[in-house]
Symmetry: C2
Subunit: 120 residues, 2 copies
Amino acid sequence: MPGRAGRDAEFARLSWDERGLVAAIVQQHDTGEVLMLAWMDAEALHRTLDTGTATYFSRSRDEYWVKGETSGNTQAVVSVAVDCDGDALLVRVDQTGVACHTGTRTCFTGREIWHEGGTR
Amino acid sequence: MPGRAGRDAEFARLSWDERGLVAAIVQQHDTGEVLMLAWMDAEALHRTLDTGTATYFSRSRDEYWVKGETSGNTQAVVSVAVDCDGDALLVRVDQTGVACHTGTRTCFTGREIWHEGGTR
């Protein structure tokens, strides 16, 4: 497996925003559940690929965070794809436990605000 | 179904960014495929719920766009959920045709840059 230098071609396909970030959509690889949305800069993506464990950049705390480092609910990364614009990543993972810090399986679980044909 | 005024409680759960936008993760409702990432402001979300057809805000063109309006590859919205932070939406849709303007099924199709155990 190539090291960081071997990722130059892949990283060149990314369009970092003015803060140096891209959005990362995190999906459970086998069930297809969308677990959460997070952000990565180049260093967070390198750390993710170096370790195989999802590492993000917190915009609110202005720091790197290994997802699940304190809770144990880590994400083993299965694959990473970039979108056609280069400003979003699809990170397919194997989630240990729950993805959301509130205790729900995904950050969207139980948070539907509208459903076709429903009353909202 | 309530009109725009009936959505006040749901919209109050959203944290719009400094541009008035939230990220919208768009997922095919039955297969679980992540189709694309787009952006919505309050008006785009209202139009989406008014019509049942996904409508986004283009950051690059600074305008609303009904997804598929010219190509015919529209997205019938099945449900919308908000995440725990209120700054991301999960929009589950039924995609007609392909989601990506490049002709691929999703904006991530064929754009993998890393796979666990692989050479990249």
